[in-house]
């Protein structure tokens, strides 16, 4: 059993992007009450939820599984060009989903 760093990077980046775009964290953290939850606790008294850890958890699990399972011959076929594109995919999707912070009128 071997671990492919290239496969991990690729799958981690793509799964993070998809989980983030679909607002689909594996789990959420509610810092105000110190609660972890696998579902969205809609009760406002729990305060804001943090999804970022949950997106990364999905990405890390998928990345590790893929890096162990994908055979070396397929790993060798992944062109290096993929890694030129990957950072831009993550970043562009991230900026797109955060655009509302820059478009929202000041509230103060």
């Amino acid at each position: 059993m071997s671990f492919s760093p290239r496969v991990f990077s690729l799958v981690f980046g793509l799964v993070y992007t998809v989980a983030h775009l679909l607002e689909m964290p594996l789990w959420r953290y509610y810092p105000l009450v110190g609660k972890f939850s696998l579902t969205d606790l809609v009760d406002l008294s729990n305060g804001p939820s943090m999804n970022w850890y949950g997106w990364m958890s999905y990405a890390a699990i998928a990345g590790v599984i893929a890096a162990v399972v994908v055979p070396k011959r397929i790993d060798n076929k992944i062109p290096a060009a993929v890694f030129y594109v990957l950072p831009f995919v993550i970043l562009v999707c991230g900026i797109y989903t955060e655009r509302s912070w820059f478009l929202a009128p000041p509230t103060g």
Binding site: P5, R6, F8, S9, L10, F12, G13, Y16, H20, Y29, P31, L32, G47, P48, M50, W52, Y53, M56, A59, A67, A80, F83, Y84, L86, P87, I90, L91, C93, G94, I95, E98, R99, S100, W101, F102, A104, P106, T107, G108
Partner: protein, 152 residues
């Protein structure tokens, strides 16, 4: 106590910044005698930095994850209430930039430590530069947010 972790996060970020900048500039250097300061700065043994950059990045990232919840509760809500949603947005993008570098870290390590330096120089140069720019971006944005009260 959160101030301690915040400062520790900043110290590791500075160590990381130094290491990744040396290496990031070295990959763009053509072999030649290093006479000027900038050439001496980047005339380093690039592969020797790879493990240090990975470890420093992971430690800095972990510390950032630890101090993130107090930021969400205290700083983010205050910034939003003050109408500084642009600053909040900058930090939100910092999240994704940090993940870009985190995602590239294994492939960065692969191209520095397991591939001969004469091969795949283009992709090695690219991932190192992206990680260097990500670290610089996150440090500058972190400082802007840290100093927002004094800046506005």
């Amino acid at each position: 106590m959160i101030a301690f972790w915040d400062v520790l996060h900043a110290i590791f970020a500075m160590l990381l910044l130094g290491a990744v900048t040396h290496q990031g500039l070295s990959v763009w250097r053509k072999p030649a005698p290093a006479r000027a300061f900038i050439d001496r700065f980047r005339a380093v043994n690039g592969p020797g930095y790879a493990n240090a950059v990975v470890v420093l990045y992971l430690v800095t990232f972990a510390l950032g994850c630890y101090i993130y919840p107090p930021y969400v509760l205290d700083v983010k809500s205050s910034l939003f209430a003050a109408g500084l949603s642009g600053q909040v947005g900058l930090f939100q993008i910092k999240e994704h930039v940090a993940v870009v570098a985190l995602a590239l870290l294994p492939v960065y390590w692969h191209y520095w430590r397991t591939v001969p330096l004469t091969e795949d120089t283009g992709i090695r140069r690219f991932v190192t530069t992206v990680i260097m720019v990500a670290v610089w971006w996150n440090l500058v944005v972190g400082h802007i947010l840290n100093n927002t009260k004094g800046l506005v």
